[in-house]
């Protein structure tokens, strides 16, 4: 239960963060950048979208799916094996995507975005929890 609680909590923080980024983008405002000054550079770069879908929307959907699957696993809704596998695949894919986006910030855009790094760390932490958890 502890691992699922942590996953759910991290996913909830991710939902809150991505909703903030989506809102500020829709209002054409620049997000507050608590550390550094590169948020605007990164979030308005051509890499802020994959095809036509903004990354913040993709992140929001991923966090919703992770929170939903963690909740289903806790309530023990069948098929738990399928939900567990789907959760692992989703977090694994999101971890790889986060590595790619972090690489883009470091080497291509050459600016760091606090919110993007926070999201990446959230996803990697989820990956570590799944790797070390015996219950998921």
């Amino acid at each position: 239960m502890t691992a699922l609680t942590l996953l759910f909590t991290l996913a909830s923080i991710g939902i809150s963060e991505t909703v903030y980024l989506i809102r500020t983008r829709e209002k054409a405002e620049l997000p507050v950048c608590p550390i550094g000054e590169g948020c605007a550079v990164v979030l308005t770069s051509r890499w802020s979208k994959i095809l036509i879908i903004p990354n913040d929307v993709m992140g929001f959907l991923a966090y919703i799916a992770i929170a939903f699957m963690s909740a289903l696993l806790l309530i023990e809704v069948e098929p738990t094996a399928l939900f567990s596998l789907a959760l692992k695949i989703l977090v694994g894919f999101a971890s790889l995507a986060s590595i790619f986006f972090t690489y883009l910030q470091a080497r291509v855009i050459r600016a760091w975005c606090f919110w993007c790094l926070m999201s990446a760390c959230t996803i990697w932490l989820m990956g570590l929890i799944i790797i070390f958890s015996k219950t998921i």
Binding site: S12, I13, S16, R23
Partner: protein, 130 residues
């Protein structure tokens, strides 16, 4: 309230409500056992149904807080819900923490209540007699 403090309080309470809703969905009858007997006798529905409804309400409140939407409504409903929880289960070693959560919800409500509503309840100055 400072914007950062507001966001930390909002997200923290949102996660708490969401998670408690999911935990209640897992074992509604076990959570129903906290309700005092005199309340159970007054309930029009089985305790399991009441607890499932409570869980759904908690999840809706938590999600609204998390996505920063209709926060004042979610906060006042959540705070009043906690008042009911404290009445029907009494202040025990477990529910005593709900006092803090309730205070947090009232703080969020006070912070996010729209100005249009505040103005309605403000006393208008009476004109001076000529």
């Amino acid at each position: 309230m400072n914007k950062t403090a507001y966001n930390i309080l909002r997200v923290g309470l949102g996660i708490t409500f969401l998670w408690i809703g999911i935990i209640i969905l897992k074992e509604p009858e076990a959570w129903g056992s906290y309700i005092q007997n005199w309340v159970v006798e007054l309930l029009p529905l089985p305790i399991k149904d009441i607890m499932i409804s409570t869980a759904i309400l908690d999840i809706i409140i938590g999600f609204l807080l998390l996505i920063d939407t209709w926060v004042w409504i979610a906060a006042i409903v959540g705070a009043l819900h906690l008042v009911v929880v404290l009445v029907v289960s009494g202040i025990t070693e477990i529910t005593v923490r709900d006092l803090g959560i309730m205070a947090g919800m009232f703080a969020l409500f006070a912070q996010t209540l729209p100005q249009s509503i505040i103005q309605k309840f403000k006393r208008k100055p009476t004109p001076l007699a000529p």
